[in-house]
Amino acid sequence: MGGYFSTVAIMIGIYALVASGLNIIVGFAGQISLGHAAFFGIGAYSTALLCTKAGLSFWWSLPLATLITGMIGALLGIPSLRVRDDFLAITTIGINFIVRSIFLYVPFFGGALGIGGIPTPILFATKLRGQYYLALVAVLLALVTWFTFLFVRTWTGLATEAIREEETAAGAMGISHVRFKILAFTIGSAMAGLGGVLYAHFVNFISPDDFGFPVSIMLLSMAVLGGMGSIWGPILGAIVLGSLPELFRPLVQYRMFLYGAALLLVIRFQPQGILGEGSVLSRLVSRRRQ
């Protein structure tokens, strides 16, 4: 497997991880977020600062940056308590823009120059590159997926879903929308933060534009395309949307157009995602089961 392929695979893995976090917020808690790249960025910047300025090693920084992002996610989830639905969607766009502006304008974050020299992780005296890094990403993705799997089966998951369906009725069932919405934001953001850490140590340098609004859009597209609210959805979405542009690469000039058109066609004809209810794939699977 060439380095090019492992690069693409690593990016897909990272996006799958981040999109899984988004799936918790949007798919399970029903809080539309169009600013998920902000948390991706916060994770990346946290680890970049922890490693380059505070001199932490990757292995310390990984959990710490994830935690920090989760906490900031809790904070930035507060607007979801006040505004809903499309208002929230747009508020989260705003959050994305503001966070990116802060990276860009506050010198501490390296401004437009970004932060460079983010170390490649070392395990047993080997630098984790290429396939090794891919293995690391795969292990973490598996962990996160397993976590999601459990999450939706707990009372917490049930309560979160109830809020998504009917907030007032959920309140009458004893469910605090504050607690569970913030919790969803915290978990979802922490996953994005974890993805950000992996991204930063893979690319070795980061700049504000890596976490702009278009990235949020791509993440949401991945989650929706795969099948929002299904655990494998974001992973599948990341694989499809992560590899499509690579497939179209020989068509240089037409590549992004084809990408857009392909995304449009899939969402138009499989609106519930490739794995969602009533999709071709899920029908095939259920037919086989019968």
Partner: protein
Amino acid sequence: MQLLTEHLINGLAVGSIYALMALGLAMVYGILRILHVAHAGVYAIGAYVGLYTFQATDSFLVAIAVAMAACALVGVAIEKLVYYPLLKFPPYVPLIASIAIFLSIEELCRIVAGPYILGFPRRLALDSLTLGPVSLGGMQILVLLTSLVILLVLWFISDKTEVGLAMQATSQDMAMASAMGVDTKRIISITFALGSAVAAVAGVLVGIYYNQVYPTMGAVPAYKTLAIIVVGGLGSIPGAVLAALLLGLAEALLIGYAAIPLPRDALAFIAMIIVFMIRPQGLLGKKTR
């Protein structure tokens, strides 16, 4: 004092362009509850069609008319082919579709017209108007007047006519509206045609005002207008206009006087978040449960 007036007039002109862009979006949102990001793509198409027509005919009015017609068509096509079939799905589904359309339009413009910024071949000869100490640029007059006319027409349609009422009813319960005799498909198409035609006007005006037409010209408006319509109160047309004008003015004044260290695009969103903390339903929005 004179400086202040210049800032104010510039802010008003920019604000009314924002208003034109946001209007169509507010209308479309109003009827289908879709965050129609591709509206910004329609706006770019308007600018290109206007530009090419202007090159061919040398007439501003023809350019505007052709651009409006073309955009109305594109808008209705998007509605019929994509949005309408997706209505019963959660809102992020049509949103993603919309973003995909927007991306495709941007790329299509780039493939067809090249990646370059194009300019209008000849600047329109418009005299400037001097009122006392204040001098209004010809372009500014054009922008202000055009916007005013369009705003009035739209306000009349949406507030004073049966079609306007039908639009509101359709947006709230499409099935019941049709049970009351409303041809909802037609109403939706009318809304898209109108909103898209207004976007065309905005596109042409921006193209002339800044003399820049380029594939990604919709990128900034795409999200900024979203902020504007939510600040105004989603779906509220007067709200969108008010928010657009306020934003135009605020930008001009803040940048002119305060030398803020944040880009103006973040400004719209900061304003938005502040508004939400005070009025979660937006400036002129109705509270919904």
